[in-house]
Symmetry: C3
Subunit: 657 residues, 3 copies
């Protein structure tokens, strides 16, 4: 439970550095991230390194007692480098080449650029790898941001062909598994395969999916190449990358696998995120100054899994940002609240973006802990308060020093490939898998249940309730593990609807899950908003949205609810429930509540905007709502932070006596 | 009144073929279309033909007693061909070149590609032209689909220049008729003329119109070249092309002229079509599971004209499809209903797309008569029912064997060039000519009137009521034929508003029609939705939408209705009525009803969602509505199908005693 | 107070010319603009000039007594010229090259094209520069129209680099002032600098701003080069360019500086303009047939300043036009009203577009004073009436012969660079500076106040009330002049929020204005529409829209109103008021009314749709509203035009006795 900050010494007069470092420490900050955009200062001309300024910055910060996270500068290649290899620029889906002048102007598939990256990374690592204050390294910055991935370059095409050759071995095998007989798409060799853009109508879905898999692997290997260099020079430092919220361009589980990272760190901007994701207008309005109560939590829980228990917030918003359509000032208290929220979900560190608002260039309207005139910003003052509170509380200090958050009793499976498959084939406009997963997640949270978000490949033993909001292609053995599980399961629509080759399973959906749930999907009802099949379950009436399956049941299946036209809505066998549709919130709640109770979990219906999260013996409560509410603490609770009644943007924490 | 199906033997194990053929026949299917996407199987490498698999498929189907429609495979050129001549790829209006990877990735103006097409077509025709089971040939597939026409390629530019030189003979003539003196657009030679895309502001409308005329001719000649080859080898087979619904990229009358086709066949997807055309949200919601009751009828009637009485549905949807924003499951009964609807409008054959849903590739979410697990789909079961009903009814069997549907008493003129002209120059956002024509058509149908849809160049003698929803440029002699006609005429706005060179007529609109209707259009009132000029006609009050003309009347014209600001709304002289505006539904009905009664036609106001259609002595009734209604059969009707009271999606048919 | 018309003799048979000229004079027209699109007729082939037709046209018009405005034809280069230098075509932001086939198909940065322009201009000037009837020259046509400026060509890049080198002298200076250390954007030399398009995320705002400044200068120099040639041959003629309404692509003050023009002329299309600018749907509906009552006035007042008192309407709509989404017929009377409105605001001349509607080419749906059949159009008849009225009124005739309109008592500062800066950095979707300026302007007009629109660099002494709706970067000395002013000031949000280098001022906004208004802006609250901070001022309650500042006040500042969450809404010191937010109409009115009263100005609340404007001793009143209203004339007013009660689209004028 520590605090950090992002700092750009190269952007400020050197005369300010020592005072900045002193004030950081004074504020309670222990970690500082630097250097991730400073390539043009490290190497102003090809091969001419300038380390002395960075040496002095590192020394100044280290002397003040700060631990340093060094970023590799590969997200912003300098102009001289672009000019020496213009083919390194990324290419958009429409065939246009991106230009320099901002950041991320590189093709992740460019081998010449990758070599340049390893050169600058190795030079940095040689210089700072053994510095005792440099305790972690971050590669690049927000890989995949700004839609420069996928890149549709010639380099991408060549590497995609190689990737396909490795995956399929023979082109006949690819032709067969891709079904290229359809529309005469057959290939005579791997090098005949194009990228799947600019086709007059839909490209083959497996072509699109494999391209996304390939690009995910490209992101992963781009990072991994740097990590391999860094570990040679900094064997004891933590390896990091700062991921983003609600971001699914690459498979984060695969990215993190094989010790590619030591800690999952992510960039949390709850208010702007709330504005840009697919929430209802009502929710966007209600939470415009607080962020939706589950938006950051969702990624805290997701990145905790990705970091195998260890996660940080690398960039936490400290006030209004600059990149959403509207960027309101957070409600007073939110900057403090977000710090506790991260800790409650298990974060080791919350690091703010950024120390001081830059008055110039692209992010001048992005706030920091200090205003451009070097006085603490309103958000900075809230951070100071939180830091002081933690120091003054034995219980919080003890929690801050504890290890990873313990496992929850509920698991929610989130799968990146499912996201890709249903983006490629929404079939119903508005069907978005991550949004459906989020709907299930928020419903759990509204019932005061803590959840882990896990991979479909994770070991799920030990959980009492397992929620699968949808899982396009079942991993091998998944059906068997469902069958043998002692947990209660809630499985959503489209599960088992595809093979790994993006085909409909031979036995029809839900594929291998038919051994557990004896039914098959005859047809799929893609629902325009005016089509609202209605059903009632456990006394709750609601509708299907976006998607409904017409399922033919077989013996042994219980139909728990039917739609008004008699098609089954919820079916079950034993400990496994299946929702044949995307339901509205009321039905999702009824479905999950029944399963939770059967799993022996205590369900509390929280007032709107209130959320709780347990970590160890401490329970935190957060009020994102517009009105004051009481936290659901037991009568004998011992409050270690705040008090029972919470105004807007307030937080409290207690230990049950 | 026969049934067919689209089948892709190359996509299935050969072991299934015989069983498939047997089950087709068992279901009542007589025709099977194959091969139209199989180029890469017919010719896996340049010049290496593989016919044996197709020989076996043809034999298997023929042996089962099926009649075969062979499709030429030119809609999906194989990758080796594209790689050998990449300049054959089509170019988008924005200058980007389309890529392979789906279908229709060819430039229809590419002469090298056209040569390749004729080569493969001739090879096919040589092999199968005299096969007794091959009773028809279809060229390509859905020409113009996916907006690859127009193509903005260099080849298109060269051929467009040649086309212009043929049309205008001298460039001075072109300059004069195009009015290129405007904005200094004059050309010194035909080869200076560019394609009309990428201009900073509007291109010259006649430039745009001639480009559309040229492209229409390109589509026509692309087809015709293949037909000329095919007729040499298969002189007795029917020549076909499968057109699309609500599709106006080329002039279908000109396409079909000079025996270029023997039967007009088209692809009917009523639910998705209803979703994507310019209907009101209310109509889209009401008919989401049935399709709008006039959407397929409109094209049945249109293609009956284009085929000079002979038309088929080549692809009929048999369940949910995959290409609209939403793709709901049809209401139970609709698949059966659509079969009877097509027959009632005169179809010789209804052929389903497709025999079995493919579990892989682009159309895996498109249903067929069978599910991927080879059991009959819900739609397949309805087809089986309809087939059985027809067999069991003497009256329907007799009708099925009868010739083309007789002429209707009402004609509605639909003109492709008018569509192009008003797309090029909408002048009022939302003005769409085809939508206006459809509004007139649906109004006729709501009054239980059967209509023929005809070309402006057709012989219109014999009709009692002729509706011209708008006709930009009058054919020579049109005004005279109106004047001399014994029919009642209803003529809509913008008629006679342009010359064939896309100019305003010298005497102002309605141009030559001023001899019949003595008025001129002073100004045009392009109406934002909040501007709603009101008028009352025959006791019905309604408004103008999109478009209103300020007309100056002369002697001899009767003003039947005026707008609230005194401008004439409906004028007439003798048997000719003119609507000076696009009216709402109530006014259109009042206008048409008056004319129909004057024409001596019986008008019946049908309940919402109910439609009737006569063919010979049999009258069919179809219920697209949400509630049960009685068909308007006389008391002594003898029902040859179903009964008087129709639930949703039900159909009946009777003979008046 | 004279009338003109735009005429295209090259588009009509020469036999019509003399009659056209005669009828122009008969109608009361004194000026005729010709030739601005006739390059292909002046020079049909490279170097081959054809002047004789133009000689005859000039003679015909001059012989009829008309004064001639000659347009240089550079807005529509002929095809042979484009073919000889295709690199002269402009390039879009997405990298695509525009094509010929309409107009404005030239890159304003193309030096070869500029040379060609000077060649044709010099040839014209030699031939007609000394013709006594040619009293003015217009360069090109509507510079910047159709978004061909900015051009993103190679020529633009090269000239931009040169422009930057001139501005910054050294690249180090540029790097420092641009803050290129951010994201490693540093440049080693000026020729490394790219155009700021196609960046994966935001380009540096100062990079974007300098590019807009550069492009504004390019437009200016393009015009100026022609003027320099023209003045050599026509030293006594007025130099003109026809500007557009609500158009901010270049800085019109800088364009007009240094005698680059003698009269500011602009093109007034009030109905289409009302449709396409950011007005509420309610206003668009209300004024669909009249144009919004302040839309033309705003530009009359703006161009009066740009022409330093002298302005014309070069193109005035005479009926429905062709380029808006909807183009309704104006309410009867509006064409007459617009003429008086222009005169009331000080126009020397109102010239109509165009003499006769062209039946062919791109503008065939654009009306003129005559219909294509050469009878007067409805608008033409209104112009005839107005011309007759002026002739018959001594008072109006006298006014027509008077000099420029006297200065108003109210000034509203409008600044083009502010528009660019807030377009580059809206920060709140929907924040548009010109719209805010217009909101302040309409509020003044609803209170019956005449206003001058002025540059931030203008001498503002003598005004009683000065309104600054927002001014991103303060000119040097601006704060001091505010402080020392004897006027009342109303200053809007974002004023002083940026330096000229597009950075946040070191002391935070409002920068140098802190000496006058002692506060600083801590944070900016960018407001989605559902966020509506409320405040009450002078009994009026309203909300903030789009934008609100959280300001920290210091001693000496009065807080006149606070928002419901206690942040200051309106603050003041002495004669200077500051609005910390974009307010709704009610609050803007309360704010301005208070200031106007303190300034000693008489405020009258006009009924909806009524507007007044004084010129000399005459006051005009205009009714844009739907119902009849009385003009606010004193009881003893002597009416010199019309009468007190005004129906829709009516106008009256009086002299106070």
């Amino acid at each position: 439970m520590q605090l950090g900050v992002c700092y750009y010494p190269e952007q400020w007069p050197e005369t300010l550095w020592a005072d900045d470092a002193r004030r950081m420490v004074e504020l309670g900050i222990t970690h500082v991230r630097i250097a991730e955009f400073a390539w043009s200062r490290m190497e102003p001309r090809a091969g001419v390194y300038e380390w002395t300024w960075l040496d002095r910055a590192v020394t100044t910060l280290a002397d003040a007692g700060l631990k340093i996270v060094l970023g590799t500068p590969t997200a912003s290649p300098p102009k001289w480098l672009v000019d020496s290899m213009p083919e390194m620029l990324p290419v958009r889906a429409d065939g246009t080449t991106w230009n320099s002048g901002s950041r991320r102007h590189y093709d992740i598939c460019s081998e010449p650029y990758r070599r340049e990256c390893l050169r600058i990374v190795e030079a940095m690592a040689q210089r700072y790898g053994s510095h005792p204050a440099v305790i972690a390294w971050q590669t690049d910055n927000e890989l995949g941001c700004h839609e420069t991935v996928p890149s549709y370059s010639k380099a991408a095409r060549a590497r995609f062909q190689t990737w396909l050759a490795r995956r399929y071995e023979t082109v006949d095998n690819l032709n067969q598994r891709w079904g290229t007989v359809f529309w005469s798409m057959e290939y005579a060799s791997f090098d005949a395969i194009e990228l799947p853009n600019l086709t007059p109508t839909d490209a083959n879905p497996i072509h699109l999916l494999d391209f996304r898999r390939f690009m995910s692997d490209e992101v992963t290997s781009f990072h991994r190449e740097q990590v391999d260099v860094l570990r040679r020079y900094a064997p004891n430092a933590d390896m990091l990358h700062n991921f983003m919220g609600f971001f699914t361009t690459f498979d984060h589980y695969r990215f993190a696998a094989n010790n590619s990272i030591d800690v999952a760190t992510w960039d949390s901007y709850p208010i702007a995120r709330t504005e840009v994701i697919a929430l209802s207008e009502e929710d966007k309005a209600r939470y415009a100054r607080t962020g939706h109560p589950d938006v950051s939590a969702f990624d805290h829980d997701r990145y905790r899994a990705i970091g195998q228990g260890r996660f940080w917030v690398m960039e936490q918003e400290a006030g209004p940002v600059n990149w959403a359509p509207w960027n309101p000032v957070p409600a007073p208290g939110m900057v403090r609240l977000w710090a506790y929220e991260a800790f409650a979900h298990g974060a080791e560190l919350v690091s703010y973006f950024r120390w001081r608002q830059a008055p110039f260039a692209q992010e001048q309207m992005h706030s920091g802990l200090n205003l451009p005139d070097n006085t603490l910003s309103p958000g900075g003052r809230e951070v100071a308060r939180a830091a002081q509170e933690i120091t003054q509380s034995d219980a919080l200090t003890k929690l801050a020093q504890s290890g990873p958050a313990p496992r929850a009793e509920v698991a929610l499976v989130f799968d990146y490939e499912t996201q890709w498959m249903f983006e490629i084939q929404r079939h119903a406009k508005g069907f978005d898998y991550q949004t459906l997963a989020f709907e299930y997640y928020r419903t759990l949270r509204e019932m005061a249940l803590d959840a882990d978000i896990v991979s479909a490949h994770a070991d799920l033993s030990g959980y009492k309730l397992i929620v699968v909001p949808g899982l396009a292609a079942l991993p091998a053995g998944f059906a068997k593990s469902v069958e043998q599980s002692s947990a209660q399961w809630v499985i959503g629509p489209r599960t088992g609807s595809k093979t790994a080759d993006f085909a409909i399973p031979a036995q029809l959906p839900p594929g291998a899950l038919q051994t557990v749930l004896p039914f098959k999907v005859l047809e799929v009802d893609s629902l325009r908003p005016t089509l609202q099949p209605t059903t009632t379950f456990n006394g709750v009436t609601g509708i299907a949205l976006h998607w409904r399956e017409h399922i033919e049941t077989r013996d042994g299946l219980d139909v728990l609810a039917r739609f008004d036209d008699n098609w089954p809505a919820i079916v079950a066998r034993g400990h496994v429930r299946y929702a044949s549709a995307w339901f509205d919130a009321a039905l999702h709640r009824a479905l999950l509540e029944g399963a939770a109770r059967d799993a022996g979990l205590a369900v509390t219906h929280l007032p709107q905007g209130l959320r709780v999260r347990r970590r160890g013996e401490i329970t935190f409560a957060f009020n994102f709502g517009a009105t004051a509410v009481d936290a659901p603490a037991p009568d004998n609770a011992r409050f270690v932070l705040g008090q029972r009644t919470l105004g807007t943007a307030d937080v409290c924490a207690w230990i049950a006596a």
